[in-house]
Protein backbone atom coordinates (compact mmCIF):
# COMPACT_ATOMS: atom_id res chain seq x y z
CA UNK A 1 0.00 0.00 0.00
CA UNK A 2 1.29 3.34 -1.01
CA UNK A 3 0.51 6.47 0.99
CA UNK A 4 -2.21 8.68 -0.42
CA UNK A 5 -1.14 11.32 -2.92
CA UNK A 6 1.29 9.06 -4.71
CA UNK A 7 0.23 7.99 -8.15
CA UNK A 8 1.72 6.89 -11.43
CA UNK A 9 1.20 8.11 -14.96
CA UNK A 10 2.16 4.86 -16.68
CA UNK A 11 1.95 1.15 -16.03
CA UNK A 12 5.70 0.86 -16.42
CA UNK A 13 6.23 3.35 -13.61
CA UNK A 14 3.94 1.37 -11.36
CA UNK A 15 5.83 -1.85 -12.09
CA UNK A 16 9.22 -0.48 -11.06
CA UNK A 17 11.01 -2.20 -8.20
CA UNK A 18 11.52 1.05 -6.32
CA UNK A 19 8.67 3.34 -7.11
CA UNK A 20 9.21 6.47 -5.07
CA UNK A 21 12.21 8.70 -4.50
CA UNK A 22 12.42 7.98 -0.73
CA UNK A 23 12.44 4.26 -1.52
CA UNK A 24 15.37 4.74 -3.89
CA UNK A 25 17.24 6.83 -1.34
CA UNK A 26 16.60 4.20 1.33
CA UNK A 27 17.89 1.33 -0.80
CA UNK A 28 21.03 3.27 -1.79
CA UNK A 29 21.67 4.09 1.87
CA UNK A 30 21.15 0.43 2.80
CA UNK A 31 23.60 -0.72 0.12
CA UNK A 32 26.13 1.89 1.31
CA UNK A 33 25.81 0.67 4.90
CA UNK A 34 26.23 -2.95 3.81
CA UNK A 35 29.27 -1.99 1.73
CA UNK A 36 30.79 0.03 4.57
CA UNK A 37 30.35 -2.50 7.37
CA UNK A 38 33.62 -4.46 6.86
CA UNK A 39 35.46 -1.13 7.16
CA UNK A 40 34.69 -1.27 10.89
CA UNK A 41 37.40 -3.89 10.99
CA UNK A 42 35.42 -6.18 13.25
CA UNK A 43 36.03 -9.61 11.71
CA UNK A 44 33.62 -11.29 14.11
CA UNK A 45 30.76 -9.05 12.98
CA UNK A 46 31.71 -9.51 9.32
CA UNK A 47 31.71 -13.27 9.79
CA UNK A 48 28.32 -13.28 11.48
CA UNK A 49 26.83 -11.14 8.73
CA UNK A 50 28.32 -13.44 6.07
CA UNK A 51 26.76 -16.48 7.75
CA UNK A 52 23.48 -14.61 8.15
CA UNK A 53 23.48 -13.67 4.46
CA UNK A 54 24.09 -17.28 3.44
CA UNK A 55 21.24 -18.35 5.72
CA UNK A 56 19.01 -15.64 4.26
CA UNK A 57 19.50 -17.14 0.79
CA UNK A 58 18.53 -20.61 2.04
CA UNK A 59 15.52 -19.29 3.98
CA UNK A 60 14.43 -17.17 0.99
CA UNK A 61 14.36 -20.41 -1.00
CA UNK A 62 12.29 -22.00 1.74
CA UNK A 63 9.96 -19.03 1.54
CA UNK A 64 9.32 -19.84 -2.13
CA UNK A 65 8.54 -23.52 -1.45
CA UNK A 66 6.75 -23.15 1.86
CA UNK A 67 5.49 -19.59 2.01
CA UNK A 68 4.62 -18.90 -1.61
CA UNK A 69 3.58 -22.36 -2.77
CA UNK A 70 2.46 -23.74 0.60
CA UNK A 71 4.56 -26.93 0.49
CA UNK A 72 6.21 -27.60 3.84
CA UNK A 73 9.86 -28.46 3.30
CA UNK A 74 11.75 -30.04 6.19
CA UNK A 75 14.78 -30.94 4.10
CA UNK A 76 16.15 -27.54 3.14
CA UNK A 77 19.51 -28.14 4.80
CA UNK A 78 19.90 -31.38 2.80
CA UNK A 79 19.61 -29.29 -0.36
CA UNK A 80 22.10 -26.80 1.09
CA UNK A 81 24.34 -29.81 1.62
CA UNK A 82 23.93 -30.98 -1.97
CA UNK A 83 24.95 -27.51 -3.14
CA UNK A 84 27.94 -27.38 -0.79
CA UNK A 85 29.23 -30.80 -1.85
CA UNK A 86 28.70 -30.01 -5.53
CA UNK A 87 30.54 -26.69 -5.32
CA UNK A 88 33.38 -28.07 -3.22
CA UNK A 89 33.82 -31.13 -5.40
CA UNK A 90 33.76 -29.15 -8.67
CA UNK A 91 36.20 -26.59 -7.32
CA UNK A 92 38.77 -28.96 -5.80
CA UNK A 93 38.54 -31.83 -8.30
CA UNK A 94 38.03 -30.01 -11.57
CA UNK A 95 39.15 -26.43 -10.90
CA UNK A 96 35.85 -24.96 -12.07
CA UNK A 97 35.67 -21.15 -11.49
CA UNK A 98 33.74 -20.04 -8.40
CA UNK A 99 30.76 -18.35 -10.14
CA UNK A 100 30.15 -21.43 -12.29
CA UNK A 101 30.49 -23.62 -9.17
CA UNK A 102 27.74 -21.59 -7.51
CA UNK A 103 25.43 -21.91 -10.52
CA UNK A 104 26.09 -25.64 -10.75
CA UNK A 105 25.48 -26.01 -7.00
CA UNK A 106 22.07 -24.39 -7.41
CA UNK A 107 21.14 -26.50 -10.43
CA UNK A 108 22.33 -29.70 -8.78
CA UNK A 109 20.33 -29.10 -5.61
CA UNK A 110 17.32 -28.22 -7.74
CA UNK A 111 17.65 -31.44 -9.74
CA UNK A 112 17.95 -33.56 -6.61
CA UNK A 113 14.85 -31.90 -5.19
CA UNK A 114 12.84 -33.05 -8.23
CA UNK A 115 13.34 -36.64 -7.08
CA UNK A 116 11.68 -35.83 -3.77
CA UNK A 117 8.92 -33.69 -5.21
CA UNK A 118 7.71 -36.43 -7.54
CA UNK A 119 5.30 -37.75 -4.89
CA UNK A 120 3.77 -34.27 -5.16
CA UNK A 121 2.06 -35.50 -8.30
CA UNK A 122 -0.18 -37.60 -6.11
CA UNK A 123 -0.31 -35.99 -2.70
CA UNK A 124 -0.40 -32.62 -1.10
CA UNK A 125 0.38 -30.66 1.97
CA UNK A 126 1.78 -32.31 5.02
CA UNK A 127 2.51 -35.63 3.43
CA UNK A 128 5.01 -33.89 1.20
CA UNK A 129 6.82 -32.69 4.29
CA UNK A 130 7.50 -36.33 5.08
CA UNK A 131 9.24 -36.95 1.76
CA UNK A 132 11.47 -33.96 2.43
CA UNK A 133 12.38 -35.51 5.79
CA UNK A 134 13.31 -38.59 3.76
CA UNK A 135 15.62 -36.39 1.67
CA UNK A 136 17.22 -35.16 4.86
CA UNK A 137 17.76 -38.65 6.25
CA UNK A 138 18.97 -40.14 2.98
CA UNK A 139 21.59 -37.46 2.19
CA UNK A 140 24.23 -38.58 4.73
CA UNK A 141 23.58 -42.26 4.06
CA UNK A 142 24.09 -41.77 0.32
CA UNK A 143 27.06 -39.38 0.53
CA UNK A 144 28.92 -41.69 2.91
CA UNK A 145 28.52 -44.63 0.51
CA UNK A 146 29.57 -42.82 -2.65
CA UNK A 147 33.24 -43.17 -3.67
CA UNK A 148 35.25 -40.86 -1.46
CA UNK A 149 36.93 -39.29 -4.50
CA UNK A 150 33.58 -37.67 -5.29
CA UNK A 151 32.49 -36.08 -2.05
CA UNK A 152 35.18 -37.10 0.40
CA UNK A 153 33.06 -39.71 2.22
CA UNK A 154 33.06 -39.36 5.98
CA UNK A 155 36.18 -37.16 6.00
CA UNK A 156 34.51 -34.43 3.95
CA UNK A 157 36.12 -32.11 1.43
CA UNK A 158 38.59 -29.40 2.38
CA UNK A 159 39.19 -26.44 0.09
CA UNK A 160 42.68 -24.95 0.39
CA UNK A 161 42.44 -21.49 -1.09
CA UNK A 162 39.52 -20.02 -2.98
CA UNK A 163 40.46 -17.77 -5.87
CA UNK A 164 38.01 -15.75 -7.90
CA UNK A 165 38.94 -13.57 -10.91
CA UNK A 166 42.59 -13.84 -9.87
CA UNK A 167 41.97 -12.55 -6.31
CA UNK A 168 41.80 -14.59 -3.14
CA UNK A 169 38.66 -15.08 -1.05
CA UNK A 170 40.52 -15.89 2.13
CA UNK A 171 40.00 -12.55 3.89
CA UNK A 172 36.68 -12.15 5.77
CA UNK A 173 35.76 -8.97 3.92
CA UNK A 174 36.26 -10.40 0.41
CA UNK A 175 34.02 -13.35 1.26
CA UNK A 176 31.55 -10.89 2.79
CA UNK A 177 31.32 -8.89 -0.43
CA UNK A 178 30.90 -11.99 -2.60
CA UNK A 179 28.13 -13.26 -0.32
CA UNK A 180 26.36 -9.92 -0.25
CA UNK A 181 26.43 -9.62 -4.05
CA UNK A 182 25.07 -13.15 -4.47
CA UNK A 183 22.47 -12.52 -1.75
CA UNK A 184 21.31 -9.32 -3.48
CA UNK A 185 20.97 -11.20 -6.77
CA UNK A 186 19.07 -14.08 -5.19
CA UNK A 187 16.75 -11.79 -3.24
CA UNK A 188 16.01 -9.84 -6.42
CA UNK A 189 15.14 -13.18 -8.03
CA UNK A 190 12.93 -14.14 -5.07
CA UNK A 191 11.04 -10.82 -5.02
CA UNK A 192 10.67 -10.94 -8.78
CA UNK A 193 9.34 -14.49 -8.71
CA UNK A 194 6.59 -13.30 -6.40
CA UNK A 195 5.54 -10.70 -9.00
CA UNK A 196 5.62 -13.10 -11.93
CA UNK A 197 3.02 -15.37 -13.47
CA UNK A 198 4.65 -18.40 -11.83
CA UNK A 199 4.64 -16.68 -8.44
CA UNK A 200 0.96 -15.88 -8.75
CA UNK A 201 0.31 -19.50 -9.74
CA UNK A 202 2.21 -20.62 -6.61
CA UNK A 203 0.08 -18.40 -4.38
CA UNK A 204 -3.13 -19.48 -6.06
CA UNK A 205 -2.12 -23.10 -5.49
CA UNK A 206 -1.35 -22.39 -1.83
CA UNK A 207 -4.65 -20.62 -1.20
CA UNK A 208 -6.89 -23.14 -2.91
CA UNK A 209 -5.47 -25.89 -5.04
CA UNK A 210 -8.73 -27.03 -6.58
CA UNK A 211 -9.82 -23.53 -7.55
CA UNK A 212 -6.39 -22.77 -9.01
CA UNK A 213 -6.37 -25.96 -11.08
CA UNK A 214 -9.76 -24.97 -12.47
CA UNK A 215 -8.21 -21.65 -13.45
CA UNK A 216 -5.54 -23.41 -15.45
CA UNK A 217 -2.64 -23.86 -13.00
CA UNK A 218 -0.90 -27.16 -13.68
CA UNK A 219 -0.61 -28.29 -10.06
CA UNK A 220 1.88 -31.13 -10.46
CA UNK A 221 4.19 -28.99 -12.58
CA UNK A 222 4.03 -26.03 -10.24
CA UNK A 223 4.69 -28.15 -7.17
CA UNK A 224 7.82 -29.55 -8.79
CA UNK A 225 8.77 -26.02 -9.88
CA UNK A 226 8.31 -24.68 -6.37
CA UNK A 227 10.57 -27.36 -4.97
CA UNK A 228 13.11 -26.78 -7.72
CA UNK A 229 13.22 -23.03 -7.10
CA UNK A 230 13.48 -23.41 -3.32
CA UNK A 231 16.19 -26.04 -3.55
CA UNK A 232 18.10 -23.98 -6.10
CA UNK A 233 18.38 -21.17 -3.57
CA UNK A 234 19.49 -23.72 -1.01
CA UNK A 235 22.13 -25.01 -3.43
CA UNK A 236 23.55 -21.54 -4.04
CA UNK A 237 23.62 -20.94 -0.27
CA UNK A 238 25.42 -24.27 0.11
CA UNK A 239 28.00 -23.30 -2.51
CA UNK A 240 28.72 -20.03 -0.70
CA UNK A 241 28.91 -21.91 2.59
CA UNK A 242 31.46 -24.32 1.13
CA UNK A 243 33.66 -21.43 -0.03
CA UNK A 244 33.23 -19.58 3.25
CA UNK A 245 33.92 -22.43 5.68
CA UNK A 246 36.26 -24.13 3.15
CA UNK A 247 35.51 -27.51 4.67
CA UNK A 248 32.42 -29.52 3.86
CA UNK A 249 31.35 -32.56 5.81
CA UNK A 250 28.09 -34.36 6.15
CA UNK A 251 27.63 -33.43 9.81
CA UNK A 252 27.01 -29.80 8.89
CA UNK A 253 23.68 -30.43 7.17
CA UNK A 254 21.35 -31.85 9.77
CA UNK A 255 17.60 -32.15 10.04
CA UNK A 256 17.99 -29.82 12.97
CA UNK A 257 19.27 -27.06 10.69
CA UNK A 258 16.29 -27.58 8.36
CA UNK A 259 13.96 -27.22 11.31
CA UNK A 260 15.75 -24.01 12.27
CA UNK A 261 15.30 -22.64 8.77
CA UNK A 262 11.56 -23.27 9.03
CA UNK A 263 11.58 -21.62 12.45
CA UNK A 264 13.34 -18.52 11.10
CA UNK A 265 10.81 -18.26 8.28
CA UNK A 266 7.85 -18.56 10.66
CA UNK A 267 9.23 -15.87 12.95
CA UNK A 268 9.89 -13.60 9.98
CA UNK A 269 6.58 -14.30 8.28
CA UNK A 270 5.81 -16.72 5.49
CA UNK A 271 4.20 -14.23 3.16
CA UNK A 272 7.14 -12.47 1.52
CA UNK A 273 10.90 -12.84 1.01
CA UNK A 274 11.14 -9.98 3.50
CA UNK A 275 10.09 -12.57 6.10
CA UNK A 276 13.19 -14.60 5.28
CA UNK A 277 15.40 -11.54 5.82
CA UNK A 278 13.74 -10.34 9.02
CA UNK A 279 13.41 -13.82 10.49
CA UNK A 280 17.01 -14.78 9.84
CA UNK A 281 18.31 -11.48 11.21
CA UNK A 282 16.08 -11.74 14.30
CA UNK A 283 17.11 -15.32 15.08
CA UNK A 284 20.78 -14.57 14.39
CA UNK A 285 20.57 -11.60 16.76
CA UNK A 286 18.82 -13.79 19.35
CA UNK A 287 21.53 -16.41 19.00
CA UNK A 288 24.27 -13.83 19.47
CA UNK A 289 22.49 -12.34 22.49
CA UNK A 290 22.16 -15.76 24.10
CA UNK A 291 25.80 -16.46 23.34
CA UNK A 292 26.92 -13.15 24.82
CA UNK A 293 24.63 -13.52 27.84
CA UNK A 294 25.63 -17.13 28.30
CA UNK A 295 29.31 -16.31 28.17
CA UNK A 296 28.80 -13.67 30.84
CA UNK A 297 26.78 -15.99 33.07
CA UNK A 298 28.93 -19.07 32.54
CA UNK A 299 32.27 -17.29 32.55
CA UNK A 300 33.26 -19.22 35.65
CA UNK A 301 32.56 -22.68 34.25
CA UNK A 302 33.53 -22.72 30.57
CA UNK A 303 33.31 -26.51 30.18
CA UNK A 304 29.50 -26.52 30.32
CA UNK A 305 28.84 -23.41 28.27
CA UNK A 306 28.61 -24.62 24.64
CA UNK A 307 25.83 -27.14 25.11
CA UNK A 308 23.79 -25.02 27.48
CA UNK A 309 23.93 -22.01 25.15
CA UNK A 310 22.80 -24.16 22.24
CA UNK A 311 19.99 -25.58 24.37
CA UNK A 312 18.92 -22.15 25.61
CA UNK A 313 18.84 -20.83 22.05
CA UNK A 314 16.64 -23.77 21.09
CA UNK A 315 14.26 -23.11 23.95
CA UNK A 316 13.99 -19.44 22.97
CA UNK A 317 13.56 -20.22 19.27
CA UNK A 318 10.89 -22.85 19.97
CA UNK A 319 9.06 -20.48 22.29
CA UNK A 320 9.38 -17.67 19.73
CA UNK A 321 7.87 -19.85 16.98
CA UNK A 322 4.90 -20.85 19.13
CA UNK A 323 4.44 -17.27 20.36
CA UNK A 324 4.50 -15.87 16.83
CA UNK A 325 2.03 -18.48 15.58
CA UNK A 326 -0.40 -17.68 18.37
CA UNK A 327 0.01 -13.91 18.58
CA UNK A 328 1.09 -12.75 15.12
CA UNK A 329 0.74 -15.51 12.50
CA UNK A 330 2.01 -13.20 9.77
CA UNK A 331 5.30 -12.77 11.57
CA UNK A 332 7.71 -9.87 11.77
CA UNK A 333 6.84 -8.85 8.21
CA UNK A 334 3.44 -7.67 9.40
CA UNK A 335 5.04 -5.75 12.29
CA UNK A 336 7.38 -4.12 9.77
CA UNK A 337 4.45 -3.13 7.56
CA UNK A 338 2.55 -1.74 10.56
CA UNK A 339 5.60 0.30 11.45
CA UNK A 340 5.93 1.53 7.89
CA UNK A 341 2.33 2.67 7.62
CA UNK A 342 2.53 4.33 11.02
CA UNK A 343 5.54 6.30 9.74
CA UNK A 344 3.71 7.26 6.56
CA UNK A 345 0.58 8.64 8.19
CA UNK A 346 2.41 10.27 11.06
CA UNK A 347 1.34 12.44 12.93
CA UNK A 348 -2.07 10.82 12.63
CA UNK A 349 -2.59 7.67 14.70
CA UNK A 350 -3.35 4.30 13.05
CA UNK A 351 -4.47 3.73 9.51
Amino acid sequence: MLPSGIFFRSHAAELRYFRTVPQRIAIVLLLLVIAALPALGNDYLTGILTTAAITIIAVAGLQITTGMAGLLNLGQSAFVGVGAFTAASLYTNYGVPVPICLVMAGLMAGSVSILFSLPAMRIKGLYLALTTIAAQVMLPIVVLRLPSSWFGGSAGIGIDDVRIFGGSLSSPSSMYYLTMIVMALMLALAFNLGRSRTGRAFRAMRDNDIASSVMGVNLALHKVLAFFAGAMFAGVAGGLYAFYIRYVTIDQFTLWLSVWYVGMLIVGGLGSPLGAILGTLAITALQELVRAGGNLALGSMPQASGGVIFAATNVLLGAAIIFVLIVEPLGLTRRWNVLKSAYRIWPYPRA
Binding site: P119, A129, L144, G318
Partner: protein
Protein backbone atom coordinates in the same frame (compact mmCIF):
# COMPACT_ATOMS: atom_id res chain seq x y z
CA UNK B 1 16.21 -71.48 10.89
CA UNK B 2 18.39 -68.46 10.35
CA UNK B 3 15.72 -66.80 8.23
CA UNK B 4 13.04 -67.42 10.85
CA UNK B 5 15.31 -65.85 13.47
CA UNK B 6 15.63 -62.74 11.29
CA UNK B 7 11.84 -62.65 10.94
CA UNK B 8 11.30 -62.91 14.71
CA UNK B 9 13.80 -60.15 15.46
CA UNK B 10 12.25 -57.93 12.81
CA UNK B 11 8.75 -58.60 14.09
CA UNK B 12 9.60 -57.69 17.68
CA UNK B 13 11.58 -54.57 16.76
CA UNK B 14 8.79 -53.61 14.40
CA UNK B 15 6.24 -53.75 17.19
CA UNK B 16 8.31 -51.19 19.12
CA UNK B 17 8.27 -48.89 16.06
CA UNK B 18 4.55 -49.56 15.97
CA UNK B 19 4.22 -48.39 19.58
CA UNK B 20 5.85 -45.02 18.84
CA UNK B 21 3.78 -44.71 15.66
CA UNK B 22 0.71 -45.49 17.75
CA UNK B 23 1.30 -42.40 19.87
CA UNK B 24 1.56 -40.35 16.69
CA UNK B 25 -1.62 -41.90 15.27
CA UNK B 26 -3.59 -41.35 18.49
CA UNK B 27 -2.78 -37.64 18.50
CA UNK B 28 -3.72 -37.36 14.84
CA UNK B 29 -6.79 -39.52 15.18
CA UNK B 30 -8.13 -37.51 18.08
CA UNK B 31 -7.31 -33.97 17.07
CA UNK B 32 -6.01 -33.90 13.48
CA UNK B 33 -2.68 -32.55 14.68
CA UNK B 34 0.31 -33.88 12.75
CA UNK B 35 2.76 -33.98 15.59
CA UNK B 36 6.29 -33.74 14.27
CA UNK B 37 7.60 -33.55 17.86
CA UNK B 38 6.78 -37.23 18.46
CA UNK B 39 10.40 -38.20 19.09
CA UNK B 40 10.76 -35.37 21.61
CA UNK B 41 7.70 -36.63 23.51
CA UNK B 42 9.41 -40.01 23.84
CA UNK B 43 12.52 -38.21 25.04
CA UNK B 44 10.62 -36.22 27.67
CA UNK B 45 8.83 -39.36 28.88
CA UNK B 46 12.11 -41.23 29.18
CA UNK B 47 13.77 -38.46 31.18
CA UNK B 48 10.80 -38.00 33.52
CA UNK B 49 10.74 -41.69 34.42
CA UNK B 50 14.50 -41.84 34.72
CA UNK B 51 14.58 -38.97 37.20
CA UNK B 52 11.97 -40.73 39.32
CA UNK B 53 13.87 -44.02 39.13
CA UNK B 54 16.78 -42.40 40.94
CA UNK B 55 14.87 -42.30 44.22
CA UNK B 56 12.02 -44.74 43.78
CA UNK B 57 11.68 -48.45 43.05
CA UNK B 58 10.80 -49.29 39.46
CA UNK B 59 7.11 -49.95 39.93
CA UNK B 60 6.51 -46.76 41.94
CA UNK B 61 8.50 -44.69 39.45
CA UNK B 62 6.38 -45.94 36.58
CA UNK B 63 3.18 -45.48 38.60
CA UNK B 64 4.07 -41.84 39.29
CA UNK B 65 5.76 -41.20 35.95
CA UNK B 66 2.76 -42.08 33.79
CA UNK B 67 0.36 -39.60 35.47
CA UNK B 68 3.12 -36.99 35.26
CA UNK B 69 3.36 -37.69 31.54
CA UNK B 70 -0.40 -37.14 31.23
CA UNK B 71 0.00 -33.80 33.03
CA UNK B 72 2.84 -32.85 30.71
CA UNK B 73 0.62 -33.65 27.74
CA UNK B 74 -2.18 -31.48 29.12
CA UNK B 75 0.28 -28.65 29.71
CA UNK B 76 1.50 -28.84 26.10
CA UNK B 77 -2.07 -28.83 24.87
CA UNK B 78 -3.00 -25.84 26.98
CA UNK B 79 0.06 -23.77 26.18
CA UNK B 80 0.52 -24.54 22.49
CA UNK B 81 -2.38 -26.18 20.75
CA UNK B 82 -5.49 -24.82 22.42
CA UNK B 83 -4.85 -21.25 21.27
CA UNK B 84 -4.48 -22.60 17.74
CA UNK B 85 -7.88 -24.33 17.52
CA UNK B 86 -9.54 -23.13 14.32
CA UNK B 87 -6.24 -22.09 12.73
CA UNK B 88 -5.16 -23.72 9.45
CA UNK B 89 -3.59 -27.18 9.67
CA UNK B 90 -0.40 -25.59 8.41
CA UNK B 91 -0.02 -23.36 11.50
CA UNK B 92 -0.60 -26.34 13.76
CA UNK B 93 2.17 -28.32 12.08
CA UNK B 94 4.44 -25.29 12.38
CA UNK B 95 3.59 -25.15 16.07
CA UNK B 96 4.61 -28.79 16.42
CA UNK B 97 7.95 -27.84 14.85
CA UNK B 98 8.26 -25.09 17.43
CA UNK B 99 7.45 -27.64 20.13
CA UNK B 100 10.09 -29.97 18.71
CA UNK B 101 12.80 -27.31 19.02
CA UNK B 102 11.54 -26.18 22.42
CA UNK B 103 11.37 -29.64 24.00
CA UNK B 104 14.74 -30.76 22.67
CA UNK B 105 16.34 -27.61 24.08
CA UNK B 106 14.44 -27.89 27.36
CA UNK B 107 15.51 -31.50 27.95
CA UNK B 108 19.11 -30.54 27.26
CA UNK B 109 18.91 -27.58 29.64
CA UNK B 110 17.25 -29.52 32.47
CA UNK B 111 19.02 -32.86 32.22
CA UNK B 112 22.16 -32.08 30.21
CA UNK B 113 23.53 -33.69 27.07
CA UNK B 114 25.54 -36.52 28.61
CA UNK B 115 24.54 -40.13 27.99
CA UNK B 116 23.50 -42.26 30.94
CA UNK B 117 22.37 -45.84 31.52
CA UNK B 118 18.63 -46.39 31.86
CA UNK B 119 17.70 -49.03 34.48
CA UNK B 120 16.29 -52.39 33.39
CA UNK B 121 12.54 -52.32 33.77
CA UNK B 122 11.92 -55.45 31.73
CA UNK B 123 13.83 -58.70 32.09
CA UNK B 124 16.88 -58.96 29.85
CA UNK B 125 17.99 -62.07 28.00
CA UNK B 126 16.04 -64.31 25.71
CA UNK B 127 13.69 -67.27 25.66
CA UNK B 128 15.06 -70.23 23.77
CA UNK B 129 12.99 -72.45 21.51
CA UNK B 130 15.23 -74.97 19.80
CA UNK B 131 17.77 -72.72 18.11
CA UNK B 132 15.55 -69.65 18.04
CA UNK B 133 16.13 -66.82 20.48
CA UNK B 134 13.29 -64.51 21.48
CA UNK B 135 14.38 -61.31 23.19
CA UNK B 136 12.41 -61.06 26.47
CA UNK B 137 12.32 -57.27 26.62
CA UNK B 138 11.11 -56.90 23.07
CA UNK B 139 8.56 -59.66 23.60
CA UNK B 140 7.12 -57.76 26.57
CA UNK B 141 7.15 -54.61 24.45
CA UNK B 142 5.30 -56.41 21.66
CA UNK B 143 2.66 -57.72 24.03
CA UNK B 144 2.20 -54.19 25.44
CA UNK B 145 1.87 -52.78 21.91
CA UNK B 146 -0.76 -55.30 20.87
CA UNK B 147 -2.73 -54.86 24.11
CA UNK B 148 -2.68 -51.06 23.74
CA UNK B 149 -3.75 -51.29 20.11
CA UNK B 150 -6.79 -53.36 21.03
CA UNK B 151 -7.70 -51.19 24.04
CA UNK B 152 -7.43 -48.02 21.95
CA UNK B 153 -9.31 -49.61 19.08
CA UNK B 154 -12.14 -50.33 21.50
CA UNK B 155 -11.94 -46.81 22.91
CA UNK B 156 -12.07 -45.17 19.50
CA UNK B 157 -14.66 -47.42 17.90
CA UNK B 158 -16.99 -48.41 20.72
CA UNK B 159 -17.18 -45.58 23.22
CA UNK B 160 -18.88 -42.23 23.00
CA UNK B 161 -15.65 -40.41 23.90
CA UNK B 162 -13.79 -42.12 21.08
CA UNK B 163 -16.44 -41.40 18.48
CA UNK B 164 -16.37 -37.74 19.43
CA UNK B 165 -12.63 -37.80 18.86
CA UNK B 166 -13.19 -39.28 15.42
CA UNK B 167 -15.59 -36.44 14.62
CA UNK B 168 -12.96 -33.89 15.59
CA UNK B 169 -10.38 -35.65 13.45
CA UNK B 170 -12.74 -35.41 10.45
CA UNK B 171 -13.19 -31.65 10.65
CA UNK B 172 -12.81 -29.14 13.47
CA UNK B 173 -15.48 -26.77 12.21
CA UNK B 174 -18.13 -29.40 11.58
CA UNK B 175 -17.40 -31.05 14.93
CA UNK B 176 -17.80 -27.69 16.70
CA UNK B 177 -21.07 -26.98 14.94
CA UNK B 178 -22.41 -30.36 16.04
CA UNK B 179 -21.59 -29.60 19.65
CA UNK B 180 -18.50 -31.77 19.95
CA UNK B 181 -15.85 -30.03 22.04
CA UNK B 182 -12.65 -29.72 20.02
CA UNK B 183 -10.91 -28.49 23.14
CA UNK B 184 -11.77 -31.65 25.06
CA UNK B 185 -10.66 -33.78 22.13
CA UNK B 186 -7.24 -32.13 21.90
CA UNK B 187 -6.89 -32.55 25.66
CA UNK B 188 -7.59 -36.27 25.40
CA UNK B 189 -5.31 -36.51 22.38
CA UNK B 190 -2.34 -35.01 24.16
CA UNK B 191 -2.91 -36.81 27.44
CA UNK B 192 -3.06 -40.13 25.59
CA UNK B 193 -0.28 -39.22 23.17
CA UNK B 194 2.28 -38.34 25.83
CA UNK B 195 1.20 -41.33 27.91
CA UNK B 196 1.80 -43.68 24.98
CA UNK B 197 5.09 -41.95 24.16
CA UNK B 198 6.23 -42.53 27.74
CA UNK B 199 5.28 -46.20 27.60
CA UNK B 200 7.18 -46.45 24.30
CA UNK B 201 10.14 -44.76 26.01
CA UNK B 202 10.07 -47.39 28.79
CA UNK B 203 10.16 -50.27 26.31
CA UNK B 204 12.81 -48.63 24.15
CA UNK B 205 15.09 -47.44 26.90
CA UNK B 206 14.92 -50.27 29.42
CA UNK B 207 18.48 -51.50 29.85
CA UNK B 208 19.70 -49.15 27.09
CA UNK B 209 21.69 -45.94 27.10
CA UNK B 210 19.60 -42.77 27.28
CA UNK B 211 20.83 -39.70 25.42
CA UNK B 212 19.38 -36.78 23.50
CA UNK B 213 19.64 -38.86 20.32
CA UNK B 214 16.78 -41.04 21.59
CA UNK B 215 14.40 -38.57 19.94
CA UNK B 216 15.43 -39.90 16.52
CA UNK B 217 12.98 -42.76 17.02
CA UNK B 218 10.33 -40.20 16.04
CA UNK B 219 11.79 -40.09 12.54
CA UNK B 220 11.58 -43.87 12.27
CA UNK B 221 7.98 -43.83 13.45
CA UNK B 222 6.80 -41.34 10.83
CA UNK B 223 7.13 -43.70 7.85
CA UNK B 224 5.52 -46.41 9.96
CA UNK B 225 2.49 -44.27 10.81
CA UNK B 226 2.20 -43.22 7.18
CA UNK B 227 2.42 -46.77 5.88
CA UNK B 228 -0.31 -47.93 8.24
CA UNK B 229 -2.49 -44.96 7.47
CA UNK B 230 -2.53 -41.96 9.77
CA UNK B 231 -5.94 -42.80 11.22
CA UNK B 232 -5.50 -46.52 11.72
CA UNK B 233 -4.45 -47.89 15.12
CA UNK B 234 -4.15 -51.51 14.05
CA UNK B 235 -2.47 -50.27 10.86
CA UNK B 236 0.29 -48.67 12.96
CA UNK B 237 1.13 -51.99 14.58
CA UNK B 238 0.99 -53.91 11.30
CA UNK B 239 3.06 -51.28 9.47
CA UNK B 240 5.56 -51.41 12.32
CA UNK B 241 5.90 -55.13 11.74
CA UNK B 242 6.27 -54.66 7.96
CA UNK B 243 8.96 -52.02 8.39
CA UNK B 244 10.67 -53.97 11.18
CA UNK B 245 10.77 -57.24 9.24
CA UNK B 246 11.79 -55.49 6.01
CA UNK B 247 14.56 -53.69 7.85
CA UNK B 248 15.78 -56.90 9.48
CA UNK B 249 15.84 -58.74 6.15
CA UNK B 250 17.58 -55.82 4.42
CA UNK B 251 20.10 -55.58 7.21
CA UNK B 252 20.84 -59.34 7.13
CA UNK B 253 20.95 -59.93 3.38
CA UNK B 254 21.55 -56.58 1.67
CA UNK B 255 23.70 -54.57 4.07
CA UNK B 256 26.86 -56.62 3.44
CA UNK B 257 26.70 -55.42 -0.18
CA UNK B 258 25.72 -51.82 0.50
CA UNK B 259 27.89 -50.97 3.52
CA UNK B 260 24.88 -50.81 5.87
CA UNK B 261 22.85 -48.42 3.75
CA UNK B 262 20.00 -50.73 2.77
CA UNK B 263 18.40 -51.16 6.19
CA UNK B 264 18.63 -47.44 6.99
CA UNK B 265 17.10 -46.40 3.70
CA UNK B 266 14.40 -49.07 3.74
CA UNK B 267 11.74 -47.28 5.84
CA UNK B 268 12.03 -44.13 3.75
CA UNK B 269 11.93 -45.93 0.41
CA UNK B 270 8.82 -47.74 1.62
CA UNK B 271 7.36 -44.40 2.66
CA UNK B 272 7.95 -42.73 -0.72
CA UNK B 273 6.54 -45.76 -2.54
CA UNK B 274 3.47 -45.80 -0.32
CA UNK B 275 2.90 -42.10 -0.90
CA UNK B 276 3.09 -42.63 -4.65
CA UNK B 277 0.85 -45.67 -4.87
CA UNK B 278 -1.56 -45.33 -1.99
CA UNK B 279 -1.33 -41.92 -0.32
CA UNK B 280 -3.74 -42.78 2.48
CA UNK B 281 -1.60 -45.72 3.64
CA UNK B 282 -2.76 -49.28 4.09
CA UNK B 283 -5.75 -48.62 6.32
CA UNK B 284 -6.10 -44.85 6.42
CA UNK B 285 -9.28 -42.97 5.68
CA UNK B 286 -9.61 -42.21 2.01
CA UNK B 287 -10.30 -38.55 2.74
CA UNK B 288 -6.78 -37.45 1.92
CA UNK B 289 -7.05 -34.68 -0.58
CA UNK B 290 -5.38 -35.58 -3.81
CA UNK B 291 -4.89 -34.01 -7.18
Amino acid sequence: MNFIQVLIDGLLTGLVYGLVALAFVVIFRASRIVNLAQGQLVLVGAFIVMSLLQWLPALAAVAIGLPLAVLAGLAVEKAVFRPLIGQPVFSVVMASIGLLILLQGLVQMVWGAQTRPFPELFPEGAFRIDELLINKKLLFGGVITLTLVEVLQWLFMRTRVGLRLAAVAEDHMIALSLGVSVRRATQVAWALGVLLSTIAALVLMSGNVLSLQASEIGLRALPVALLGGLESLRGAALAGVIVGVGEAIASRYLDPYSAGAASQLFPYLVMILVLLIRPQGLFGWKTIERL
